[in-house]
């Protein structure tokens, strides 16, 4: 059979002579020649079914001609195919007339009928609900997805597609493949529970299990989310590996560990944002319309869940927005340091909101505006002119009810409506407490060291500052080096910083690492330990204490020998040596005792 598939046959389609593999169908050959054959029940990746007969063509073989469905008819040597002969057209018109009798309301059918000049039907009309019984959904569900959640029920004119026993299917995985292939959009996947926008869930927008993480991802290669991939979870589907021509999809791929020998290491472990749920008074996680700056970023992005529309959880447009600065930063309860980037991105958010909702009231609640940087102050001035309200005072509480429910709404404030929020703050310039009724609250969350940096610091034997960020060798003179030679830091791993600063420090760390590698040799510190062979008794005490295995015993001379290249110069063997035979260069007993004497006699 396999050999037969390889055979090449010659045939003519609409007068064009072509060569084709004998395993191909007429439809495949015609599609290759860009000859249009209408189909309804055909889909590349499921087996041809021949149900709709719309693809019927006239095949002449040995002088006899007949109508066959192009989708399932395999080519043979010497056949002559007519895709638009009078007979074929009449055949299709008849089919369309029959279909019109049942599906006159289905746009796809009406469109096709109009194309073939069929307006009315001679047959008794028995309007359907829109399903043309092509069986694509049933076949996709069983052949590709493997869920077998759909089936035909009954026969003849009573036939229809349903889940077993017409109930909510147990085997349906809600992948939506049936709705995707349905030519008439009759099959729809519906969420049976009513749901709202959940910003954190929709953060990156709806996506397929195989996708490129985000528009500007590097490398821009798709990956498969094993948690949602039908193939990974059920063994079905696998459509991505079928459509991928270079055969790059590999479901067997596993995480692997690779060992590399390197001459320098740059630690750029980045940051994580402050979790605002820790600041309970701000209502994050409690109120739907309190979102973080990062969620706003996803929301306002053109490829985000709302395609860039700035909306509240119920889908309406917010008319007033409060942006709360310093959430988790400059706060003794959380992090005392300034996260440096929030002032600027808060200004940017206000600018974007102004663009999307021109008449919105935007409030920036800040402690201090910190806009140092090229062009930053100018941007701040621009925002001042865009009519953004700057209130100097930290937003302290977000509530869903006003503190005084009998008070009249503040002028400009909207009447109480669903999801209305009240932000409390002290306007320190006016010296009065204020309460702002707003539709939405955005929390400008600060920067924290990335998850697991303590472990990284331990592995590389570098220090962290009190706030958890990696410590540089010297804050002014060695800002990318660390106390461990060959280990460098860059970006937010060292301290919160914006993109220009991170790029600059990254480049500096790279060149520092390069200069170390380029030199080709490493200068060792001259502080290694030495053994006085005349005094050493060969007791091996030093061998036990050396953490680097730098000391060996010369069995011939019966003395300890120190390998200079391995010795890191901690000096613990010197303190341990019972006979005083070991000294550390630069730190020998006489030197330290001289230091002691000098310090104590002064």
């Amino acid at each position: 059979m396999a050999e037969a598939e390889e055979q090449m046959v010659k045939l003519t389609i609409d007068g064009i002579e072509v060569e084709a593999r004998s395993s191909e169908t007429i439809l495949e050959v015609a599609q290759r020649l860009k000859i249009d054959i209408p189909t309804l029940c055909f889909y590349r990746f499921v087996k041809p079914y021949g149900a709709c007969r719309m693809c019927s063509v006239e095949v002449t073989i040995h002088g006899k001609s007949r109508f066959v469905p192009a989708c399932s008819y395999q080519v043979r040597d010497g056949i002559e195919v007519q895709t638009r002969s009078e007979g074929v057209i009449n055949h299709r018109r008849m089919l369309l007339e029959l279909m019109l009798a049942r599906h006159s309301q289905v746009p796809v059918i009406r469109e096709l009928a109009r194309e073939y000049g069929v307006d009315t039907t001679r047959f008794e009309e028995m309007p359907s609900e829109g399903c043309i019984l092509c069986g694509l959904c049933v076949r996709v569900c069983s052949e590709i997805v493997g869920a077998n959640a759909l089936t035909f029920v009954k026969r003849g004119t009573d036939r229809y597609v349903s889940t077993p026993f017409e109930g909510e299917s147990d085997t349906c995985i809600a992948c939506g493949a049936c709705a995707y292939v349905c030519p008439t959009n009759y099959v729809k996947v519906e969420d049976v529970r009513s749901r709202k926008y959940v910003f954190s869930e929709l953060a990156l927008g709806p996506t397929t299990p195989i996708h490129i993480p985000f528009a500007a991802a590097i490398p821009g290669i798709p990956y498969i989310d094993a948690q949602t991939c039908i193939h990974m979870q059920t063994g079905g589907c696998g459509i991505c590996s079928i459509v991928c021509e270079p055969d790059a999809v590999d479901y067997e791929m596993q995480d692997s560990f690779e060992e590399m020998e390197v001459g320098g290491i740059i630690l750029a472990t980045g940051y994580k944002t402050f979790d605002p749920a820790r600041a309970k008074q701000l209502g994050y996680g409690k109120f739907d319309n309190v979102i973080t700056s990062l969620e706003f970023e996803h929301l306002s992005h053109a490829s985000g869940p709302t395609e860039g529309k700035f909306v509240r959880a119920d889908g309406t447009e917010p008319k007033s927005v409060a942006i709360l600065h310093c959430v988790g930063s400059r706060d003794k309860n959380f992090n005392e340091y300034c996260s440096r980037v929030c002032c600027m991105y808060s200004l940017k958010m206000a600018h974007l909101i102004r663009e999307k909702v021109p008449d919105a009231e935007i409030y920036e609640l800040y402690i201090d505006m910190r806009c140092p940087g090229s062009g930053y102050e100018e941007f701040y001035n621009r925002l001042l002119e865009e009519g953004v309200h700057f209130i100097r005072g930290k937003g302290v509480e977000v509530s869903d009810r006003p503190s005084n429910p009998w008070a009249k709404p503040i002028a400009g404030g909207t009447a109480e409506k669903n999801g209305q929020l009240f932000v409390r703050c002290e306007d320190t310039l006016l010296g009065v407490p204020r309460e702002l009724p707003v539709d939405m609250v955005i929390l400008s969350v600060g920067i924290e060291p990335a998850e697991g940096v303590e472990g990284v610091a331990r592995v590389f034997k570098i220090s962290s500052k009190a706030d958890g960020f990696f410590m540089e060798r010297h804050p002014k003179l060695a800002p990318v080096d660390t106390l461990s030679d060959g280990i460098f830091v860059a970006g937010c791993a060292q301290s919160p910083k914006d993109i220009p600063d991170s790029v600059a420090q990254g480049a500096a760390a790279a060149s520092a690492a390069m200069s170390l590698i380029d030199a080709g040799e490493v200068t060792l510190e001259p502080i290694t330990s030495v053994v006085d062979e005349d005094v050493c008794t060969g007791c091996k005490t030093c061998l036990l204490v050396c953490p680097f295995g730098a000391i060996a015993r010369d069995e011939e001379k019966r003395v300890a020998v120190i390998n200079d290249a391995l010795c890191k110069g901690c000096g613990c063997c010197v303190a341990a040596c019972p006979s005083g035979a070991i000294t550390q260069r630069g730190f020998d007993d006489i030197q330290i005792e001289a230091e002691l004497a000098a310090l104590l006699t002064s």
Partner: protein, 158 residues
């Protein structure tokens, strides 16, 4: 029986004089953590008493117990040994060795009648500059309270 401190034993009651007693303290600081912390504390302009004179060692495990005894013998009123936190030693396990050695030395010192507070070990990482300043103040205050050690008068054979 009330404990007789080394200060009470000594004849010179400097504490009664107008000038307060300024103890002399020797601090052995490891280069990677505590010495770096002292550096950072300096660049951060933290204030702490100047009584601790620092001797830099690469690792606290270089500190021979003999150095500590010699420091006391040559006139120090207290000794501070400060290194990396357990598990964070730049030389893998130096601070554990130090902890063991100091533990033994403290027993010897107590037998001699030298108060526990005169010898102190602290683990201060390079980032803990506030802890560093705090330890420096605390060790100074504690030794100041104990008064001068006066090794020559109290411990050396006449």
């Amino acid at each position: 029986m009330a404990e007789v401190t080394t200060a009470e034993k000594s004849s010179a009651k400097a504490a009664d004089q107008a000038a307060p007693f300024e103890p002399k303290i020797i601090g052995f600081l490891c280069w990677w953590c505590s010495y770096a912390a002292s550096d950072m504390a300096g660049t951060s302009r933290l204030k702490y008493p100047p009584n601790v004179s620092i001797i830099r060692v690469m690792c606290t495990s270089r500190v021979d117990p003999a150095f500590i005894l010699r420091a006391f013998a040559e006139g120090a009123d207290g000794v501070l040994v400060a290194g990396c936190h357990p598990g964070q030693c730049h030389y893998v396990s130096g601070n554990y060795k130090t902890a063991a050695r100091i533990g033994l030395l403290k027993k010897t010192l107590s037998q001699l009648g030298i108060e526990d507070d005169r010898l102190r070990t602290e683990w201060i990482s390079a980032g803990e500059i506030y802890k560093f300043a705090e330890v420096m103040s605390d060790v100074t205050e504690k030794v100041r309270k104990l008064g001068p050690l006066n090794w020559r008068e109290n411990f050396e054979p006449k």
